[in-house]
Symmetry: C2
Subunit: 121 residues, 2 copies
């Protein structure tokens, strides 16, 4: 039987909860998450360095995504998506201080080299 | 290096193109697609019957998702998401006739039984 249908923008956690991650679907090879940020950033000096590829899509709010070696963060707004390849060190430099930022994140086993990865348009 | 950042709601194909599927990221275990529908439905009497799980999220527009055995389609609007387990026969009964319906679809190898699958809230 199919799972229940729900709305990813409904039931957002209260702002006081800090950053909240919910797993929406998961298998051995993939994990689909909703992440709700309330102005949080990756702690200063810390970097994410992940073993799996991560594809992210901002659904609401905005955020600054900084890749190691880049001069400044790339600004993401609603609808913006990016692939973060495994081993590509990055941090969230900022998230919107005035509203909740809702991310969809898909973590998956990478193919090396990646078969295809691009964003639209 | 990370891929370029793009906007999933930008560069939508013209209405005359029919239903258009673009692969945004892909590996051996997962394929992330943007699907843009312009009022199309699954042909009458046809069903999707997929070997992999599919998680879908409607980003714009609306659609009716019918699972075999259900009395009527479930209406999906922007933000609505659902897991369609492998082997779960389904069809798209309708998509919004008045605007483009934009889907995000994540196809992935299922774990049997699924470890986790739910939608929010």
């Amino acid at each position: 039987m199919p799972s229940e249908i729900g709305n990813i923008l409904a039931g957002l956690p209260p702002a006081l909860s800090g950053e909240v991650v919910d797993t929406l679907a998961e298998s051995d090879s993939v994990r689909i998450e909703r992440i709700v940020s309330n102005g949080q950033a990756t702690p200063e000096g810390e970097w994410y360095d992940q073993e799996r590829d991560e594809w992210v899509l901002v659904l609401a709010g905005s955020a600054g995504l900084l890749f190691e070696g880049a001069l400044e963060p790339q600004r993401l707004v609603a609808g913006d998506c990016a692939l973060i390849p495994a081993g590509c060190r990055h941090r969230v430099a900022w998230t919107d201080p005035d509203m909740k930022t809702v991310w969809l994140a898909v973590h998956f086993e990478s193919t090396n080299p990646p078969r295809k990865a691009h964003c639209l348009p």
